[in-house]
């Protein structure tokens, strides 16, 4: 319990947004435009923009702005809007705790320790990279092993090159982008090594980041040893079998001073868990309903903290929804109806939202997103209300590298029986 002196220092805000990356900025803009004026955004870094600041390559904004922007340009549009709307943003501010009663503590050099009580909280903390420790790769603990995003920050924001001869483990988009970036900055990229039999990166990046520079992509291969005393001196790569175990006799050695890891992203949910929000083991994010509200009333989540997206355009779209929903919540607009659960079926992983409100009044179209569990060609996604198909989507290809989305129309939602709804892929 707070002493009366401390109690008097608690500031009330209608909507508190945690994070000023693309998700937090979009959520704040939407909340403000929906009429919330007592609004505050807290950002750990010194600048708004989040990960876009270091993504200097182009390809952002094609869906939202119908033009191709670089990361900093995309971010700047939201930064300008946040400023134009007069939204208060405290940068250099780390949130220390949140709880289910929406009491928040934060700290910064400028304001010291700060306490807030929020009418609604929007979680927009983003994600972080899976580190070397999570891979259990044998070898020495030498310098020269970086996550791809760390290397990206060095090269693009700080102007340092992390190495001269480089191997990349993982062929997600960040790894591919860094293969090109390191090459253009004068490094030799010897190989990109992928454990799975397919790359989770875009075709465009495989062509323009690897093939353009004759960088070989080794599918179904992994790094099995890391050598070096102080600085990395080399890595050993081997082919893996269908159980992802190295095949003896297939080892290749690379002399290199740098190993970049692009092996997955993990939503950063320490704060979410402090508020006892119910979590999904499939997305590593909160379980949310179609208004992006978590299991705790008035706490919303959006962007990469909820589930890892491929495109920032979709992060922004999702976050606008969260901002609007948080505004409606603090304005006392109640959502009445019955919830149904959306479940992963065959071939589907991590459906978001996991809960869908069948409203008593009129329904609106709801977009559901999920990641295919494997590569499916000429396949159909079926939305099943028990044994009954209520919606479907056909595509030439579904791959784990591309999040799939499907709209449930108002009449479909109104017609749901109330039992669990399953989303499945059939080839």
């Amino acid at each position: 319990m707070l002493s009366p002196e401390l109690r008097s220092q608690v500031k009330y805000v209608d909507v508190l947004v945690i994070g000023a990356g693309p998700a937090g900025m979009a959520a704040a803009i939407a909340a403000k435009e929906a009429g919330v004026h007592n609004l505050l955004v807290l950002e750990r870094e010194q600048n708004m923009g989040g990960i876009l600041r270091q993504c200097i390559h182009n390809g952002f904004g094609l869906h939202r702005f119908k033009e191709e922007l670089t990361g900093p340009e995309y971010a700047q549009r939201d930064i300008d809007k946040v400023k134009e709307l007069g939204i208060e943003v405290r940068t250099g501010t780390t949130v220390l705790s949140i709880d289910e009663d929406r009491f928040v503590t934060a700290i910064s050099r400028e304001y010291g320790v700060q306490m807030f009580e929020a009418g609604a909280i929007i979680l927009a903390m983003g994600c972080r990279e899976r580190p070397r420790g999570a891979l259990a790769t044998p070898g020495t603990r030498c310098a020269g092993v970086y996550s791809a995003g760390t290397a990206q920050k060095f090269v693009n924001l700080e102007g340092y090159m992390p190495g001269k001869r480089c191997v990349i483990l993982g062929s997600g988009d960040i790894g591919l982008i860094m293969a090109r970036r390191m090459t253009l900055q004068g490094a030799k990229v010897l190989a990109c090594v992928e454990l799975m039999p397919y790359s989770s990166g875009l075709n465009r990046n495989i062509v323009q980041c690897l093939q353009d520079y004759d960088i070989p992509l080794y599918l179904s291969h992994t790094v099995i040893d890391i050598q070096g005393k102080e600085r990395l001196s080399g890595v050993t790569v081997a082919e893996v079998d269908s159980n992802r175990q190295p095949i003896p006799g297939t080892e290749k050695h690379f002399d290199c001073d740098t190993l970049l890891l692009s092996v997955g992203l993990i939503p950063e949910n320490e704060l979410t868990e402090m508020a006892n929000v119910e979590m999904s083991t499939l997305t590593s994010g909160a379980i949310v309903d179609d208004s992006l509200q978590t299991s705790k009333e008035g706490i919303f989540a959006c962007g990469n903290v909820l589930h890892v997206h491929d495109l920032v355009d979709f992060v922004s779209a999702e976050s606008f929804k969260a901002g609007k929903a948080a505004a409606e919540y603090v304005q006392g607009k109640k959502r009445e109806g019955k919830y149904v659960n959306l479940k992963d079926g065959n071939g589907v992983r991590g459906v978001v939202p996991q809960k869908l409100l069948v409203p008593d009044g009129e329904a609106e179209t709801v977009q559901i997103m999920f990641r295919p569990a494997g590569v499916y060609k000429n396949a159909t996604v079926r939305v099943m209300d028990g044994e009954r198909e209520v919606a479907k989507l056909k595509k030439l290809i579904f791959t784990p590298g591309e999040m799939a989305e499907l709209n449930l129309k108002p009449e479909v939602i109104k017609g749901l029986s109330g039992g669990d709804v399953t989303i499945q892929i059939e080839q």
């Binding site: 200097i56 900093p72 340009e73 700047q76 090269v155 253009l184 900055q185 495989i206 093939q211």
Partner: protein
Amino acid sequence: MEHQITCINCPVGCRMTVTVEDGKVTSVTGNTCKRGVAYAEQECVAPQRMVTAVVTVTGRKTPVSVKTRTPIPKVKIFECMKQLAATEITAPVHMGDVVCANVCGTGVDVIATKNVD
């Protein structure tokens, strides 16, 4: 001459065989849709790429990010990088400012993609 290329327009990634004669595409096979043909015609005759990089800001510890305003011929990428490595600009820089005009004689300007106060 025959080229084997992967279409980059969508995740299907069609493997296409493209025949070029006298600088013109005469046949494209393996594509699923017409976007493949358009891509093949560009990629096999005059491939182009956007170039993004960073440029030193005089007296500053951190560089400014830049891009070519439009794609440039793929063969000019390394020459373009070399010219940018030798380029320095002074603050303040605004998004859209020309950092390097007509880079490597391509007729394309390199512009800043962020602000430096």
